[in-house]
Symmetry: C2
Subunit: 427 residues, 2 copies
Amino acid sequence: MTPAIDVEKLIRAMSEQARTAYRLLADASPEQKNAALLESAREMRAHSERIIAANDADMLAAENAGLANALLDRLKLKQVSVEAMANTLEEIASFPDPVGKTLAEWERPNGLRIERVSVPLGVIGIIYESRPNVTADAGGLCLKSGNAVILRGGSDSLNSSKAIVECLRKGLQFAGLPGDAIQLVQTPDRQAVGEMLTMTGIIDVIIPRGGKSLTERILKESRVPTIQHLDGNCHTYIHQSADARMAKEITLNAKMRRTGICGATESLLVDSDAADKLLPEIIESLIAAGCEIRGDETVCKFDSRVTSASEEDWATEYLDATLSIKTVKDVSEAVAHINRYGSHHTDAIIAEDAAAAKLFLDGVDSAIVLHNASTQFADGGEFGMGGEIGISTGRLHARGPVGIEQLTTYKYAVRGSGQTRLPADGS
Amino acid sequence: MTPAIDVEKLIRAMSEQARTAYRLLADASPEQKNAALLESAREMRAHSERIIAANDADMLAAENAGLANALLDRLKLKQVSVEAMANTLEEIASFPDPVGKTLAEWERPNGLRIERVSVPLGVIGIIYESRPNVTADAGGLCLKSGNAVILRGGSDSLNSSKAIVECLRKGLQFAGLPGDAIQLVQTPDRQAVGEMLTMTGIIDVIIPRGGKSLTERILKESRVPTIQHLDGNCHTYIHQSADARMAKEITLNAKMRRTGICGATESLLVDSDAADKLLPEIIESLIAAGCEIRGDETVCKFDSRVTSASEEDWATEYLDATLSIKTVKDVSEAVAHINRYGSHHTDAIIAEDAAAAKLFLDGVDSAIVLHNASTQFADGGEFGMGGEIGISTGRLHARGPVGIEQLTTYKYAVRGSGQTRLPADGS
């Protein structure tokens, strides 16, 4: 029997190593960080067999444990997946450096020059589930933004993640940077997560990335500040001025392109005055594509295959081929419904009327609001921000896609020539 | 006997009223918000006797309860204090509106136009101690930035705060805005604070403003995200290249101008090579000004009145006329000492050598780093940001002074012409 490891001690030691590494990484030049990223990509390609063999071991264990097919799918790495991870690291290397940028600068009447300059967040803890490619993405994004990171992936992907982290650490060392800037928690003990959440002052930020129950537990328990990614109960609203063809195409795409992502539309709102004209064809095409529809009384009348929606449906993120549909009087009712039942993630209006679009974009209190486009564009890559760690549904620090810019904070550098503060001047 | 009030129910009702008010306030024009601020200032001046009478009642109760003189000082409102509060509201009205600003804008290859636009944070809970002017400042800053606020001041100042909030609510109503955008918790029951900390999804942000024990309790217990203001263990570091006169003047100001504010210097670091030349005169002038000095072995040798500093002194925020002094080898040792013992608030270097200053400004991991200026400039007003709610020592969202700009977040408005997302394009 192996002796029980002291998880608290392990996580504290890792956190302190990360803190030391962060101070070194914060001084690294953009060239050094990019060299580390490019070497990590090269390592991955050179050792893709090793990564895939590690993944095979994870897959075998997961199959023996009877993991569901959807989870096995997410866990599986193929040659092309390794290539994709390496490409992502190279893409991250190509971004402008997010650290050391002058965000604002001004001079005071007393001659003090004040500069707000971007700096890394510090030490980031990322807690995620079984997708091993998150290991590479998150490691690369943190490295680029000058943050040290402690990765805690799902135990199902432990071997895969180990092999990936090894490549990232070799990249760091190649560039003269501390390998401990990217560490992986290697114990499957669930206590490790709890310990990470108590490391205030050593870990600066916790980012949960995964299902709602994981995220909710972390938000509830964490003593370290978090960047939240909760659910995406996204809406598409069809205004009476909408172009009929555009409304149908966007609705189909927003719901059915991928049903399991957080930007998928879960609820469709339609102006009552336009329902007769637009809804029958939209319902037909959705059902033809394999979507189950739950509607309010009016919607049920259009098609016998539509079942009756309950109050609960309006608040539900299905993450599946199911859509709730509700008719509304006008844009104000649509906005009120979304602000009440939505999750402040992503919501869209389809309208030709510019005034209605403005009311919607201003009034809906969500991280992302769209006019005449699919909610499935809620994605850091689609926004041109490169990779993302997730989509923040919180209001502090970052809202929407969390890319390298959102993984930084700022400090004020104030330059004077001997200024002292007057005795009576304020507090 | 009055029946016990249900504090949980009270705070929930107030929070929901604030949420409703916030949605209306978020739609208010800059002109409306400014009209509310100006009318509030007018109300305060017109009813200054009422405010002062309310404050007299608070003062009498506080004196009878045997409150310390320092606390009585903070509680006391004079005619000139009411005038100062009114002036602050007028100054806040004169600032550019922080909401609805385009922070960034770009177009994607598929024609989607992406705009990042500033919006209010939402509903803010501010928990503070007995200074009644915080009621006016915080109310005004939140109003300007479009946030609804629930104020929970010290029970000692309840009557004063009530009278002040009445003026603010009259200002809101005058401008056609909901009075409930500014609410005061009127029960002295301490449970009220605990209830505020659990209102996730209704209160968006909690800002504690007060002593370390209050703040630490809130950071520990809050389920609502917080903007932290912890201690200010600030340093001034005198590099060997420093101008002797500037070093003396800045040190005296940084320590002694006001010893009780968070930007006061608590620890002085001096290059060993310059200690002989600079320290005796600085120590002399500090002691002459009434400062107690605790020094390391080298420093003790310069003056018999210097007592020996312990390890604990390096980590202590005295908030008093006490200073610890340590000699260091060079700028690297100074930076390492500050990053280890400091509180990431505000730290300054006095140096003529530009390279040393750069090493310090880059290396010290604090919200504010200064070159050749007093740490007492750590203040939103001195930064030209107008009033401030506090100085954030956290890393997420806001660092340094928290003014109206830091009381906003952003959303993405994405404008398309029918774009749908390609099936195979990423996740």
